[in-house]
């Protein structure tokens, strides 16, 4: 067995001779002794260095000792005057990256080379020395480097400039002193010197906006010789444009320069400029056109790199300005069959974004031919593009859905299959006509699906959508097959789905029950448990009776409590007589504490944050309040607001307040901090004047016995209000206390104190305080399930606003509700936006809000507000919040 193997190796040696065959580190290190010979043989030495470099390049590593030995041996080679050998010595030193104490050995040799008459020595010595040196040595050679920057030999100048760019990261203060020389080098006639000088100059000045702007202004007027430097200039120009755009209006500065670069002779400059134009903030169609035109020319280039660059850029443009790219569609279509699969995929997805309804069928045909021979990652891109196309042209769902189901049957990895399933699910949700067809495709898929995760997801989805179809019974077979054929996880999911059909479709109930009873003999605990649970709750006799709504909600209703909250509550739960009460879990979505807009520049955490934990966590508040006997009978805490500052920053006493809302009470928690080391405050109370809050009556207050310097304390005030009513009002607050002088050095407190008062800002309880942020997982379903009974729709003009995004976030914070499905984010430059919000109003009334915004020319924002809730008054109340806000 061994014999033929050896022979084979021999054969290979014959045909594949390599000078490094059988090379061994130990032997080469031995060979390196020739470096120490008194009569140096430059050729031999070069060969040995090449061997050492070969070993390093192949991933071999030298031990510390070996590296040091080689390094010292190599330094001996500076004696030789052979240029070739010297070049190899430079390379070797860079590769060995010697330690600081070793560097000293070669410093003098390298400094000698740096001042040599031979240009090649100077250039290389600079690069080597700057690579291995540290800051202390740099001051010694700084003079030479400055000279080198303006050296008449371009190679030397470039070497110094590039070294400068590297050194700027470690010793910026030294490199910054060279800017006069660098400035001179920018004017160099040598193309690459100009490029390197420009790069270094910009990096020296990058934090000085004015200087960068000046640099760009002067260079865009002058002549830049190197295409690379021109590319740099384009990048710096776009940076200046971006920063200027926020302050200036009217014509975009420097656009003409970018546009003129589209006519440059170097392709890399043309492309850089075209790409820069497409990426301008709020680019107009007029500005885009010339860039698109040159990119279109690139599409038919013979060079794949050019085609790729162009199609990749156009693909990005198509996301924001699909109409601008449609002109390129014909060129793009010819790229579908491009040899380079990356180009073909980008072309396809661009076409899918820009295509119109009539071209869909033709496109799908082309894509089908090409799907089989691209990688999964590209397939996912295509699937996502098809999904958005289908949503754009719902009438074409048939051919697109067929395409998706076909590729679902083919081979593919998990991510790919998941992308397809997700797409089908979204299409079913959004295109009612596609539902039955799509569900059947999914049913067929789970008949032969190797991914447990996907099977369970689809079964769950079937359980929600299946019972609502015209003939739910046809799905039962597919679901029950899972109970026979799959692993325990999928079986359990199938049992749940069956039960859902039984609960929702009364006609199917007896038959579903027969199937569920069979599951009682399953080998897996979870499957049996689920079957038992459903049989007992949904109605065990198999009679055709309607399942109780409460049971339905319990079994299949959505869990409107954030999972993270349940997790913390369960962790806190101690096994006791009392069972765990799910209603005790806070429903509020936890958010990071936000700094109040009214008080910019303040520390977001608030000076008077309670020491028990971060101020926004509901758990911490609940614990704190329930520990105070006066508030123990207020019931369950509904909501706690974010802290509102009642004092300016940097005042003597810092006070902020948290509003705790209960069903019949409101508790104000004043977090106070004394910032004067010379004072101790005692008997601190807040005198609240509720004359402008008629519906509130003070019932309790809890003063603070003493408030020493820099240790926050809390004062509470409780008010009664009518039950379940979102009473609003304004409260004025006065801090009253006794001041005692303290000697900050000794900590001694004087006995006598003076009574004093400190005016705080007013505090308001607004309607938004009665709305709790509670998200919903599927807004559309939730919206429909609440129904239009108590829907209130009205339109509002919001007046001139800075931007659409600003208007949207203002309304969200006014309402204090949870944005759903990422709709709080407004796309750049969009003229209209829809935002979905959900929340729970006091009294546990679910509220959903759909906001439609539009902006017109002079930044006038209009808004249509649609509210659905389970209570007439609550819907009106939301409108009132907006109308008065």
């Amino acid at each position: 067995m061994a014999q033929p193997l050896v022979k084979k190796d021999d054969d290979r040696d014959d045909e594949e001779y390599s000078p490094f065959l059988g090379i061994e580190k130990g032997a080469v290190l031995q060979e390196a002794r020739v470096f120490n010979d008194p009569q140096l043989d430059p050729r031999r030495c070069s060969q040995v260095i090449t061997k050492l470099l070969y070993l390093l390049n192949q991933g071999e590593t030298f031990t510390k000792i070996e590296a040091t030995e080689v390094f010292f041996a190599v330094t001996k080679l500076f004696q030789s005057r052979d240029i070739g050998l010297r070049r190899m010595v430079y390379l070797m030193i860079k590769e060995l990256s010697p330690s600081a104490d070793e560097v000293i050995i070669v410093t003098s040799s390298l400094m000698k080379d740096m001042t040599s008459k031979t240009d090649m020595y100077r250039a290389n010595a600079i690069r080597v020395l700057c690579r291995i040196t540290d800051g202390t040595l740099l001051t010694q050679i700084e003079r030479y480097l400055k000279q080198a920057i303006v050296d008449k030999n371009p190679v030397v100048a470039s070497a110094a400039l590039v070294s400068g760019i590297h050194l700027l990261e470690t010793t910026p203060e030294i490199v910054k002193r060279w800017s006069n020389e660098v400035q001179e080098a920018v004017q160099s006639r040598a193309a690459l010197v100009q490029f390197h000088a420009l790069a270094l100059l910009h990096q020296i000045r990058q934090n000085d906006r004015l200087a960068v702007s000046k640099l760009v202004t002067s260079l865009t007027r002058g002549t830049v010789r190197s295409p690379l430097a021109q590319c740099l200039l384009i990048r710096y120009t776009t940076q200046v444009i971006r920063e200027a755009a926020t302050t200036q209006t009217g014509d975009r500065p420097f656009y003409d320069f970018l546009e003129s670069c589209l006519r440059h002779k170097a392709e890399m400059v043309i492309f850089e400029a075209a790409r820069a134009i497409t990426e301008l903030n709020g680019v107009t169609n007029r500005e885009l056109t010339p860039a698109i035109t040159v990119l279109q020319l690139f599409l038919s280039s013979s060079k794949p790199v050019l085609r790729f660059a162009a199609v990749r850029t156009l693909n990005k443009v198509a996301m924001t300005h699909p109409m601008a790219v449609t002109n390129c569609n014909i060129d793009m279509e010819s790229l579908i069959s491009d040899q380079n699969r990356s180009i073909a995929t980008l072309a396809i997805t661009t076409l899918l974004k820009t295509g119109n309804e009539s071209s869909v069928d033709r496109l799908m045909k082309q894509i089908t031919n090409f799907m089989s021979d691209i990688a999964d990652e590209f397939k996912i891109v295509v699937v996502e593009a098809i999904r958005s196309l289908c949503l754009k042209f719902p009438l074409k769902y048939r051919s697109l859905m067929n395409f998706l189901s076909n590729i679902l049957r083919e081979e593919g990895g998990f991510e790919y299959k998941k992308a397809i399933v997700d797409s089908i699910v979204i299409l079913i949700r959004d295109i009612p006509d596609a539902k039955e067809n799509g569900l059947l495709h999914l049913c067929e898929f789970i008949e032969d699906c190797e991914f447990t995760y996907l099977s369970t997801q689809i079964l769950h989805f079937l359980g929600t959508e299946g019972p609502k179809t015209s003939d739910p019974s046809k799905y039962i077979r597919y679901i029950y097959n899972r109970v026979h054929l799959e692993n325990a996880t999928v079986r359990a999911a199938a049992v749940s789905t069956l039960a859902k059909f039984g609960a929702m479709v009364d006609a199917l109930k007896p038959r579903v029950f027969v199937l569920l009873r069979r599951c009682l003999y399953d080998g897996d605990d979870e499957v049996r448990d689920r079957a038992t649970l459903y049989l007992n709750t949904v109605g065990s006799d198999g009679e055709v009776i309607e399942t109780d709504k409460v049971v339905k909600d319990f079994l299949f209703g959505s869990l409107d409590i954030p999972l993270a909250n349940i997790e913390t509550s369960l962790k806190n739960y101690e096994p006791a007589e009392q069972p765990f009460d799910i209603n005790s879990v806070p429903k509020e979505v936890k958010t990071q504490p936000l700094a109040e807009k009214k008080a910019p520049g303040k520390k977001p955490a608030g000076l008077g944050a309670p020491p028990s934990g971060p101020p926004s966590t509901v758990d911490a508040y609940e614990k704190l309040l329930s520990s105070i006997p006066e508030f123990s009978d207020f019931g369950k805490l509904f909501k706690s607001s974010a802290p509102v500052e009642l004092t300016e920053a940097e005042t003597e006493y810092a006070v902020n307040v948290v509003k705790h809302i209960f069903d019949r009470h409101v508790v104000f928690q004043y977090n106070c901090t004394n910032t004067i080391p010379e004072q101790l405050l005692e008997n601190v109370t807040v005198i609240v004047d509720a004359s402008e809050a008629e519906e509130f009556a003070e019932v309790a207050s809890k003063p603070l016995r003493s408030l020493p310097y820099d240790s926050p304390g809390q004062i509470f005030g409780a008010f009664e209000k009518p039950e379940g009513v979102p009473a609003v009002g304004k409260f004025s607050n006065m801090l009253r206390f006794i001041v005692k002088e303290v000697d900050p050095t000794t900590g001694d407190v004087e006995d006598d104190g003076v009574e004093d008062e400190y005016q705080l800002e007013d505090l308001e309880v607004v309607a938004a305080d009665y709305v709790m942020k509670v998200g919903v997982s599927n807004f559309r379903n939730a919206w429909e399930s609440i129904g239009p009974d108590f829907e209130r729709v009205d339109e509002y003009g919001l007046g001139p606003r800075e931007s659409l995004a600003e208007a949207v976030s203002a309304v969200i914070s006014l309402l204090g509700m949870q944005p759903c499905e990422g709709t709080e984010v407004v796309a750049n430059n969009s003229r209209s936006h829809t935002c979905l919000l959900s929340g729970v109003f006091i009294g546990n009334v679910k509220v959903l809000v759909r906001l439609q915004f539009g902006i017109d020319g002079p930044k006038e924002v209009a808004m249509k507000l649609a509210v659905r809730s389970e209570d007439d008054n609550v819907s009106d109340m939301i409108h009132e919040i907006v109308a008065s806000g």
Binding site: F20, T50, N57, D82, L228, K303, L306, A309
Partner: protein, 177 residues
């Protein structure tokens, strides 16, 4: 994007994906095994493409890779996702043509390994720490091949070195035939 164009690595692999010479300028691949894994991925991804007449391009792990093949040698230049593809292609072309000049048109693995010193010097002259030094193949090759002798060298040593250089030239010629 406001920064200088930068090169993440330059690879020269053989027709089996083994290293001939590689140079990494970024810390994206900190260990040798990470480097080898990247080279393997790049090689496998591009292996079946025809990059012999024109440079080709691919994306991998958030990098743009331009590449060109000749004989049993595969040339790659890698840059960041947002890098101007044409700048990368210019660097590749500079490397590719410079190697062609230095190996006097005999561009294959055997020749490249025999002149590995030239290849390594060539890499050194194209990019320094990720920053493009030079892209003109003639200039690069010129800098690498300047095997003339230091003007300041004493006459005796000069003649010996020159004699050796000539001898070497003869030797390689006769070996190559």
């Amino acid at each position: 994007m406001d920064t200088c164009p930068s090169i993440k690595n330059i690879l020269l692999l053989d027709s089996e994906g083994k290293r001939v010479a590689v140079k990494y300028y970024s810390n994206d691949w900190p260990t040798n095994s990470a480097k080898e894994a990247f080279e393997k991925a790049v090689f496998t991804k591009t292996q079946k493409t025809n990059a012999r007449t024109e440079a080709e391009i691919a994306m991998l792990e958030g990098n743009v890779i331009v590449y060109k093949f000749v004989q049993d040698l595969h040339f790659f230049v890698t840059g960041g996702e947002d890098e101007n593809e044409l700048i990368l292609a210019t660097v590749l072309q500079g490397f590719f043509d410079a190697v062609g000049l230095l190996l006097r048109g005999n561009v294959d693995k055997k020749e490249a390994l025999e002149n590995l010193d030239l290849i390594l010097l060539c890499l050194d002259e194209i990019v320094d720490g990720g920053i493009i030094l030079e892209t003109d193949a003639n200039v690069i090759a010129g800098k690498v091949a300047s095997h003339s002798v230091d003007v300041g060298a004493p006459l005796s040593e000069q003649t010996i070195s020159q004699a050796l250089a000539t001898a070497r030239e003869h030797l390689t010629r006769s070996l190559l035939k």
